[in-house]
């Protein structure tokens, strides 16, 4: 059981990094990104291919995944500089599909639908098989912590306030002399880098990636995490990612206790249960489990807006 919990915690870690990145892009800056699976795939394939085909050490390949994610994020943001909201959503969704289809069709590079088997794992020689999952969990937890600190620093900084201003009304932000485009590109690129990092960590963890892993469904899970946790609030997301994974995976245990239904009915019921629980959470807490604190001048001068407020934001 504990091995299973460790493994699930590791998966939650990947979700958390992706959710924090999405929160930076959408929760704070208002840039819709449905292409999460694409950035995730890009990171996974970059690190996987560099390590499998070129034999680079894992530490460097993971760093390269961040760089690839960074560049891709920046480019997508530049390409869609005039687009907002729904249009950006379409571009990013397209980007995600493009990455997946390239991975699927350029099989002389990516091994295509057969999937890429990755042997290299960070620090694999230093630990035995029993402790290694814990080591990997620690590694992922450290990555989550680093990403969290970065996004939380951004949120509390003057840049964070600018981003929120852009989210609420970019024209006003522009009028006030903020460089909206630069901020958008920066944020999208940084988010892309984090997603690339998550992808690389995922690839070396499961050790077998194929284009089918990176279906748009992954993006939906992350959106659920952000929405359930509370958009704009980084603490909320950590909780949201955990709750979503608990619902997704916890519902598996239904089958071990309910024996009067056959496997086919259980599969259907499990998916229904997932949907119902998510709807129930949002019905009870429409702004997420831990909503974004309302920003007020008093709070910002004393505690920089960390304390949740009872009033509704907006």
């Amino acid at each position: 059981m504990s091995a299973y919990l460790i493994s699930m915690a590791t998966f939650v870690g990947f979700f958390m990094i992706l959710a924090l990145a999405l929160n930076l892009q959408w929760g704070m800056t208002g840039m819709v990104n449905f292409g999460i699976a694409g950035f995730y795939a890009l990171g996974a394939y970059t690190s996987g291919l560099l390590s499998v085909k070129l034999g680079w050490p894992v530490g460097i390949t993971i760093a390269m995944s961040c760089v690839t994610g960074l560049i891709a994020g920046g480019l997508v943001a530049l390409l869609s500089m005039r687009l907002r909201e729904d249009y950006l959503a379409i571009v990013t969704l397209g980007f995600g599909e493009i990455v997946r289809l390239i991975a699927l069709n350029e099989d002389q590079i990516t091994e295509g639908p057969r999937g890429l088997k990755i042997d290299a794992r960070p620090f694999a020689d230093m630990f035995d098989r029993e402790t290694y999952p814990l080591v990997y969990l620690a590694l992922v937890a450290a990555a989550v912590a680093v990403v969290f600190v970065i996004v939380e620093c951004i949120r509390r900084s003057p840049m964070g306030r600018t981003l929120r201003a852009i989210r609420e009304d970019d024209v006003v932000a522009e009028v006030l002399g903020k460089n909206v485009l630069r901020h958008r590109v920066q944020v999208f690129a940084l988010g892309g880098a984090f997603m690339g990092l998550a992808g690389a960590l995922y690839a070396h963890y499961v050790q077998n990636i194929s284009p089918e892993v990176f279906m748009p469904m992954v993006a939906i899970f992350i959106w659920m995490s952000v929405i359930v946790g509370g958009a704009g609030n980084n603490w909320g997301l950590l909780l949201g990612a955990g709750v979503v994974m608990t619902i997704l995976e916890g519902s598996r245990f239904l089958g071990d206790f309910i024996d009067f239904l056959d496997a086919e009915q259980l599969s259907a019921i499990r998916i229904i249960v997932i949907g119902v629980l998510l709807i129930a959470i949002l019905r009870v807490r429409p702004r997420g489990l831990i909503p974004e604190p309302k920003f007020s001048f008093a709070a910002s001068s004393t505690e920089q807006g960390r304390q949740p407020s009872t009033e509704n934001a907006k």
């Binding site: 059981m1 699927l104 071990d256 496997a263 831990i290």
Partner: protein, 405 residues
């Protein structure tokens, strides 16, 4: 909604949830029975087949348990849905391996799922039994824990090509769904008919599209006598509608997994004339006859439940091998799987009950199954399944030819 959630209360709730997770399912690891996992595609691309595989698994386990189990202990079966998606399947396999402590994971169908969970299974020492056709499966199975109950897909392609040539077609065009299973099938087909019979280069199409108009136009542009389209039912339905709409008059050949009941319902009369083939159970085998009785199917000429029969064989073979090995350790069981399935001069058994009796009587057995005679090559891939070509007439499959091994 005035109650506020602070970070502290959120942490407490989260902690409580985590703690509940740790303590609750300890029921699953009580006692010391033999645990077996079933991971089938109950939804998604394999949706038409998964439920039949997993219910076959359950029938065998129930039967064996009612007769006293294996090695004097009962068998616990844990059933999970792979959703035909490797991302989900990896986590489901994780649960089966680490929570349910299964000896083997049976019933994976899509190659990407079988390959996706392979690193975890190999590391944990878990036997895999699948009906996947990717030629990569034996290559990646470094420990000899994987047993495939399905012919590899180049074999499908070659068999369909031979049957098609016998029907006298002279020119072909090919397009395949872009996945490993269908791609290697196309290679097998080309190998037999020869490149010169193809009017143009074969190509792949990407699944999940709303329209396949340009692909179909390209496929039938030079008006070949026959087109071969290895596919899944999810995309073949749209592809075939488009072929029909564009008025192609040649022969459409595909794999039978694309032309099940749902396809025929969706297409109606327009489906008449499609030729399709797949590896099938040996229809004259006593094991197949038993399967038909067990499932309560009406016996017909055609083959039913090509994958369900494999499910019955997977579970039977695993349980026989555990009894034979006298242990549920992966290394011993995987060796015993050869002992109970492959080799001459042994007593042939057609079901798990007879097999267990024979093993307990100290006899050497060779299990012959409902999906094939279940003989493995040295890589754990099944040898020689029968192959059947059928034509849809009046909404029904009519068998036109069968290759028997």
């Amino acid at each position: 909604m005035n109650r506020k959630i602070t970070r502290r209360s959120a942490l407490i709730t989260g902690g409580a949830i985590a703690a509940a997770g740790v303590f609750a399912p300890s029921i699953a690891r009580a006692a010391d029975p033999i645990n077996v996992g079933s991971l089938t595609p109950n939804t998604g691309g394999g949706g038409p087949f998964g439920p039949k595989i997993t219910s076959a698994h359950k029938r065998v386990v129930d039967l064996v348990n009612s007769e006293g189990g294996v090695l004097g202990t009962t068998i616990n079966l844990f059933q999970e849905n792979s959703e035909t998606n490797p991302e989900t399947a990896v986590r489901a396999a994780d649960k089966l391996i680490n929570v349910n402590k299964v000896v083997g994971i049976l019933g994976t169908w899509s190659s990407s799922v079988t390959l996706g969970i392979m690193p975890k299974c190999q590391e944990a020492g878990v036997i895999q039994m699948c009906t996947s056709s990717s030629a990569d499966i034996p290559v990646r199975d470094e420990k000899g824990y994987v047993f495939n109950f399905q012919a590899l897909s180049p074999v499908w392609g070659r068999a369909i090509a031979r049957l098609a040539l016998r029907r006298g077609f002279k020119t072909f065009n090919l397009m395949a769904l872009n996945n490993d299973f269908t791609r290697s099938m196309m290679d097998g087909f080309t190998e037999i008919v020869g490149k010169d019979k193809l009017l143009q280069d074969s190509f792949y199409y990407n699944g999940g599209q709303s329209s396949y108009r340009s692909e179909v136009t390209q496929l039938i542009e030079k008006n070949p006598e026959a087109v071969f389209i290895p596919s899944y039912v999810t995309d073949f339905t749209s592809v075939y509608k488009e072929i029909f709409r564009q008025g192609y008059e040649g022969q459409v050949i595909t794999v039978s997994i694309s032309t099940g009941e749902k396809f025929k319902e969706a297409i109606g009369d327009a489906a008449n004339g499609i030729i399709h083939g797949l590896p099938v159970p040996p229809i004259k085998s006593p094991a197949y006859a038993e399967y038909v009785t067990e499932t309560g199917l009406e016996p017909t000429d055609g083959v039913q439940h090509p994958f369900g029969t494999a499910g019955r064989d997977q579970m039977s073979v695993l349980l026989l091998a555990i009894e034979k090995a006298g242990s549920a350790e992966a290394d011993k069981v995987s060796k015993a799987i050869w002992d109970v399935t492959t080799g001459d001069g042994k007593e042939t058994v057609y079901n798990v009950t007879d097999g267990l009796k024979a093993i307990r009587a100290g006899k050497e057995i060779n299990y012959s199954g409902a999906s094939s005679s279940v003989e493995f090559d040295k890589e754990g891939m099944v040898l020689g399944r029968d192959f059947q070509l059928a034509e849809i007439k009046d909404g029904k499959d009519v068998v036109i030819e069968r290759l028997e091994f």
